[in-house]
């Protein structure tokens, strides 16, 4: 049967591996903290820490110059999604101040086939994503907020990730939260 597996798409599998692992993590966290809110926090935190490291990889792979405005940042984030999640969210709903925008995820590889049980309606399953964004932006001296406006899992039409620019940071290395 080895042969058979060879020809099954190992890239797909390894991407599965991530989403499965992530799922197990979420489930474990739910066991640990019954309250979904706490779980959301945890996920965001984990995302943040990942972000801190991920940005290096991103900059290394795509030798990008410093962004000059937030639109630029948005594009970078978009391309990061393409790079790391294999999806290209659309950028919309810019605020007047161009300091706030939405990413619309038509598909979410993290939450494929997920159906939330009733007692977890408040769970933000993919909350790792905003965390990653916050973390990685912080590493390039941008303090930003990121959160889910809509979530497909909650029966919303789409999955909308909102990102808001807060302020520019002085060059200080942020420490990983715990």
């Amino acid at each position: 049967m080895a042969k058979q597996v060879k020809n099954l798409d190992s890239k797909k599998i390894s991407s599965d591996l991530f989403s499965l692992t992530y799922g197990s993590l979420v489930f474990q966290l739910i066991k640990d903290y019954e309250n979904p809110e706490d779980v959301n926090k945890q996920l965001e935190r984990i995302g943040y820490n990942i972000g801190l490291r991920l940005i290096e990889d991103f900059l290394a792979k795509t030798n990008t110059p410093r962004c000059f405005d937030f639109k630029d940042v948005a594009d970078k984030i978009q391309s990061a999604f393409r790079m790391y999640l294999g999806i290209t969210p659309s950028i919309t709903n810019w605020s007047q101040g161009n300091d706030e925008f939405s990413l619309i995820l038509d598909a979410n590889p993290l939450a494929e086939f997920i159906e939330l049980p009733d007692h977890l309606v408040n769970l933000r399953y993919s909350n790792i994503l905003p965390g990653i964004i916050r973390g990685s932006l912080e590493m390039v001296q941008i303090e930003a907020k990121a959160w889910f406006m809509q979530d497909y899992l909650k029966g919303d039409a789409t999955t909308e990730l909102r990102i808001k620019f807060v302020k520019k940071l002085e060059d200080v290395m942020p420490q990983g939260e715990d």
């Binding site: 599965d16 499965l20 799922g23 979420v26 086939f113 997920i114 159906e115 977890l120």
Partner: protein, 225 residues
């Protein structure tokens, strides 16, 4: 042929089969047929998740695709019961025609069918012992007066049983059962493995699976989400 209805009916086709869509406008160009020929298998899998009406509508094209639509429909209409059993023989998913339409099947019949499905595990366990031919698809497992039972046994000892009535005097090809079972299996895997909230050994409760099964029973799956 007004498009919106079709779109409502079979979005999956629209999504994955531009060809069909075109064919729908009436102008059926040869190139698509060749396309179908090469992707007959793909098409078949797709069709499994189609509503009957859709299939009939597409018949003209599908016929060209070396794939017998009527056979599929007859097969679906004669599906009596479907059971997915986990490695401990616990039924994580059971559907019988009774669940959809009480008129088509009495409660007693329903029970007997369940017992028979359950009893088929004997045969599977027998097969499990044998080492030759370890293809997951087991083929026809048992047959008696009123029904046939086809089976699939995965490497992880997931068992899927499909009961088809033989009262309908049609001879569908084995491939129907095969593709249906394979399709069910992969869908089962998706809804159970991707979803961390599913506790192994408990009943599968998934709209997505329900939809597929509904269409397997030849009942139009409703695609409104």
């Amino acid at each position: 042929m007004e498009l919106p209805t079709i779109i409502k009916m079979v979005p999956s086709v629209i999504l994955s089969f531009h060809g069909l869509l075109m064919a729908f406008h009436g102008d059926i160009c040869e190139s698509y047929f060749n396309f179908f020929k090469c992707s007959a298998r793909k098409l078949q899998h797709l069709i499994i998740s189609l509503s009957n009406a859709a299939i009939l509508k597409f018949k003209s094209i599908l016929d060209k695709s070396e794939w017998d639509v009527v056979g599929c429909l007859q097969f679906r209409m004669s599906v009596l019961a479907l059971v997915i059993v986990n490695s401990d023989n616990y039924p994580v998913f059971i559907k019988t025609r009774h669940d959809y339409d009480k008129s088509k099947m009495s409660a007693e019949e329903n029970m007997n069918i369940l017992y028979n499905m359950n009893a088929t595990l004997d045969i599977i366990e027998e097969r499990q012992g044998q080492n030759q031919n370890r293809d997951p698809y087991l083929g026809l497992l048992n047959q008696c007066e009123s029904y046939k039972i086809y089976g699939l046994l995965s490497a992880t000892r997931i068992k899927i049983l499909l009961m088809v009535s033989t009262n309908v005097s049609v001879m569908f090809r084995d491939s129907e059962a095969r593709s249906t079972l394979k399709q069910l299996y992969s869908s089962y895997i998706d809804v159970t493995t991707y979803n961390p909230f599913y506790c192994p050994g408990s009943e599968v409760q998934s709209k997505k699976l329900e939809e597929l099964v509904k269409s397997v029973f030849g009942l139009t799956a409703d695609y409104n989400r």
